[in-house]
């Protein structure tokens, strides 16, 4: 479904990703693990072409999207949920969802506001409230819901558990598992190994912008050395 081939990405002059390749199949939930600064967010942005890779290629559903405008990438069915939430604080919850809305893709699931409110009951209660009146946890829910309004085929979740209370992390895990059961493909970047293990099928570990490991969690458990070297839990 998504295929990265030898990506090279820069942030200004800094070389962030080098020779990074991996792929994600349909219906798969993959977690991208690595410590802070390993290049997880840059990987996400390189997929969305918010950072355009200077080498290598990204293809999605069989077509090359390298260098494409971000909005076109999104239109093809890639849904990006940024790390720092970035909800529109002056807009109401309903308006936030409206910004994310896109026509349904053929064969894909079509999200409606009602369906999303069922998934995130908190949002329903506060649908007329402005984004800035919401707590961090609610904002995190909203940013996922907003992206789902675009009926993505692959969801990119950048550190969904960062900076939120443990009790909300639990809800988040439940939500992701539900999306998974409905056939959504997900790539999520994480530092929280517990959380990643709970929701994902496969772990990709990156360090200094290169891939160090790519296998199931069972295999990761069989290699404690890998875990210790790159995840430092």
């Amino acid at each position: 479904m998504l295929d990265l081939k030898s990506i090279e990405s820069y942030y200004g002059k800094a070389h962030i990703l080098s020779d990074l390749s991996f792929s994600i199949g349909a219906g798969e939930v993959v977690s991208l693990l690595g410590r802070n600064g390993a290049g997880k967010t840059t990987t996400m942005k390189s997929i969305m072409q918010m950072v355009i890779p200077k080498g290598g290629s990204v293809s999605f559903l069989g077509s090359d999207i390298t260098g494409l405008a971000t909005h076109k990438v999104a239109k093809m069915g890639l849904g990006y949920v940024p790390e720092d939430r970035r909800i529109f604080t002056d807009l109401t919850i309903l308006e936030n969802l409206e910004v994310g809305r896109q026509p349904p893709r053929d064969g894909g699931y079509e999200w409606s506001v009602e369906a999303l409110f069922e998934l995130f009951p908190n949002l329903k209660e506060r649908q007329k409230n402005r984004g800035k009146e919401m707590s961090g946890g609610e904002q995190q829910m909203l940013t996922i819901a907003r992206t789902l309004m675009g009926n993505p085929k692959l969801l990119l979740l950048d550190e969904p558990s960062e900076g939120i209370a443990p009790v909300i992390i639990e809800q988040m895990a439940e939500t992701i598992l539900r999306l998974k059961s409905e056939g959504m493909s997900i790539l999520l970047s994480e530092q929280n190994l517990h959380f990643a293990r709970l929701v994902a099928d496969r772990a990709i570990i990156i360090e200094s912008g290169t891939k160090k490991f790519d296998a199931t969690f069972a295999e990761l458990d069989a290699h404690p050395d890998v875990r210790d070297a790159y995840l430092s839990v």
Partner: protein, 625 residues
């Protein structure tokens, strides 16, 4: 009573055009974060295009069709400007784009001159609405009533578009975080273009709709610019109802001002603006601007270090070369370099404020002018000797900066910029309208230097010593603890305040210091010319300063001086041609597009790239030693 109502109605009618133009400006700023200096030019184009259309399209229906068509035509011109000029520079550092829009002003001025000539044109009367209606005995033009009736519909239409439609929601979302809107699948490039179309079209409509009341001339662009900035700021950036209320307030006050306090007309709106911002710093309907963490673009500034031995040697050689200049015995050249030195000092003082403090002042000419006028007034009214008057010039300018700064530094960003412009305009209108004291439009003449400085060469050396000395002082202060504290207040107010730095006082002191230094330049100026006119305090002068600082490079210490010298030289060359504005405008736009980091920044980058200069900073930044 009846007169009062008639005046009120006139004010309401005048508000129509003002509201249309101002709402366009507000809309463009809200979404693109571009302060569009060329908005007045769109208004002027609307008037001229509307006029031409009305000449060929007679009758009732075609009058209104012409107004609409003029709006659409200007909207399309706006689209061309957006695509050709602004798209390439969206990624440039904040506010850099206003330099590009300034280039657009110059281009449009000459193009309008080319097409419509230098003569003012009188607007045609609206068919069917030519007469007057008597309201309680007072005559009120029918066209005024039509305007009063139309405006609320426009306001409602815009409000509906922005709050109730999907496009409006997208526009408001883009106002906050463009990149995220793109990541959600919206083509923000076209959203920007669309907003630019609408904003420019509103300005064009405003220009066309006021034709029967005013007409069209080549000064319209600058004349309305200050007024629409004032309206947008009083109403609150981005608030349409605010723009409407403010437009009405300003227009009505203006009508009353003309009748009861004729000498106050120019000052009035700035006084109102100053008062409103004192009470409500973000305008009547505006909300506090929270500096977004997204949309910050461009490379971070590099750490600064005092010039090393090589740098000092280069500067020393340059000064020595300048000192040898009078030997060529070219009065023309000596005067030109005198002018350039003065302008460089002015630009360097603004750069101190803008580059180090992040304080974008739109009214820095106020202090240049204050310096010049203080010296001129002392000489002609008190018979003060030149030496003393020259020393008091920066003091006077500094005092003005202390007072104006006290009122402005509470605000930041665009609001600060607007307030500084308002106070500068206030000073300007004071000088302009207080004719018996300041000479008004005729300026002050016969302000000559003392005997020992009376030759061109003597004054040249005087300027060289004082000007270069002041520039070196500015640079030294940049490297001093105070300069560091100013940068600290800009980089992170939170951290500065949390480590004991009173950031407001630091900014205030910087504002006063920069003002005093501009006053030195003003003092040098008045004695070099022997005269001073209100134009030295004008918006255009402040803009000149801004342009050169941006062109030189905000993020480099020498940006102001280099930019100042380059622009003066180019101007001197270009003004020999007929359509020099056009050429200068195009040149500015080209530089903006090709060198978004300014001249110094770009040269530095090229030099580093070519390996001529491996500055210490560069090594530290990339860590590739």
């Amino acid at each position: 009573m009846a007169l009062l109502i008639a005046q009120l109605l006139t004010g309401l009618a005048n508000a129509a055009a003002l509201f249309l133009v101002a709402s366009g400006l507000s809309l463009i700023f809200g979404v693109t974060r571009i302060v569009n200096f060329a908005h007045g030019s769109f208004y002027m184009l609307g008037a001229f295009i509307g006029y031409s259309l009305m000449q060929v399209l007679p009758g009732h229906f075609w009058f209104w069709a012409s107004v609409l068509l003029a709006g659409i035509a200007v909207g399309l011109i706006g689209v061309i400007v957006e695509i050709c000029v602004l798209r390439p520079v969206y990624k440039a550092p904040e506010l850099f784009q206003l330099v590009a829009t300034f280039g657009v002003i110059l281009v449009i001025q000459d193009l309008a001159l080319l097409v419509w000539g230098a003569e003012d044109v009188l607007g045609p009367r609206a068919p069917g609405l030519k007469g007057i209606i008597r309201i309680m005995g007072e005559p009120v033009p029918k066209y005024d009533l039509a305007l009063i009736a139309i405006t609320p519909f426009v306001l409602f239409g815009l409000w509906y578009l922005l709050t109730k439609t999907r496009i409006g929601i997208l526009v408001r979302a883009a106002t906050q975080d463009r990149e995220m809107v793109g990541a959600l699948g919206v083509n923000q490039a076209w959203l920007f273009t669309g907003v630019f179309f609408l904003g420019a079209a509103l300005a064009g409509l405003g220009g066309a709709i006021q034709l029967p009341k005013g007409g069209a001339d080549l000064m319209m662009d600058f004349n309305i610019l200050a007024a629409i900035f004032v309206v947008v700021v009083i109403g609150g950036m981005g608030s349409l109802p605010g723009a409407y209320v403010a437009a009405v307030l300003i227009s009505v006050l203006n009508v009353f001002g003309v009748s009861y306090l004729p000498q106050s007309t120019l000052v009035l709106m700035f006084v109102v603006m100053a008062v409103v911002l004192m009470i409500k710093p973000y305008g009547l309907f505006g909300r506090e601007e929270v500096a977004g963490e997204h949309g910050q673009v461009g490379e971070p500034e590099r750490p600064i270090k005092p010039a090393d031995a090589r740098g000092r040697m280069i500067v020393g050689c340059l000064i020595a070369a300048l000192a040898l200049l009078p030997m060529f015995d070219s009065t023309f050249l000596t005067i030109l370099i005198t002018d350039i030195l003065i302008f460089c000092l002015f630009a360097a003082s603004l750069h101190f404020l803008l580059g180090l403090g992040g304080l974008v002042s739109f009214g820095h000419a106020a202090f240049f002018g204050s310096g010049a006028y203080v010296a001129a007034l002392l000489v002609s009214h008190a018979g003060t000797p030149m030496e003393l008057a020259f020393l008091l010039a920066p003091l006077g300018a500094g005092m003005a900066a202390v007072i104006i700064g006290w009122m402005c530094i509470r605000l930041t960003g665009v609001y600060f910029a607007m307030l500084t412009m308002a106070f500068a305009q206030l000073l300007w209108s004071l000088v302009f309208q207080w004719g018996e004291f300041t000479g008004g439009d005729d300026g002050m003449v016969d302000i000559w230097p003392a005997e020992w400085l009376s030759t061109t060469n003597a004054y040249y050396y005087f300027t060289l010593v004082v000007g270069v000395g002041a520039i070196i002082l500015l640079r030294h202060v940049a490297h001093s603890p105070f300069g560091y504290a100013l940068r600290a207040s800009r980089d992170s107010e939170r951290q500065a305040e949390a480590t004991g730095i009173n950031t407001k006082h630091v900014r205030w002191a910087a504002f006063a210091f920069a003002g005093a230094m501009a006053g030195v330049a003003g003092g040098l100026f008045v004695f070099s010319k022997g005269s001073v006119f209100p134009t030295e305090l004008e918006i255009a002068k402040s803009f000149d300063g801004l342009i050169v600082v941006f062109l030189g490079g905000v993020k480099t210490l020498s940006g102001g001086v280099v930019g100042g010298a380059s622009l003066e030289l180019i101007k001197d060359f270009l003004t020999r041609f007929e359509f020099w504005r056009l050429s200068l405008g195009v040149l500015i736009i080209v530089v903006v597009i090709l060198a978004p980091e300014g001249i110094v920044g770009t040269v530095r980058k090229l030099a580093e790239h070519a390996g001529w200069m491996r500055s210490k900073n560069a090594r530290e930044v990339t860590g590739d030693e």
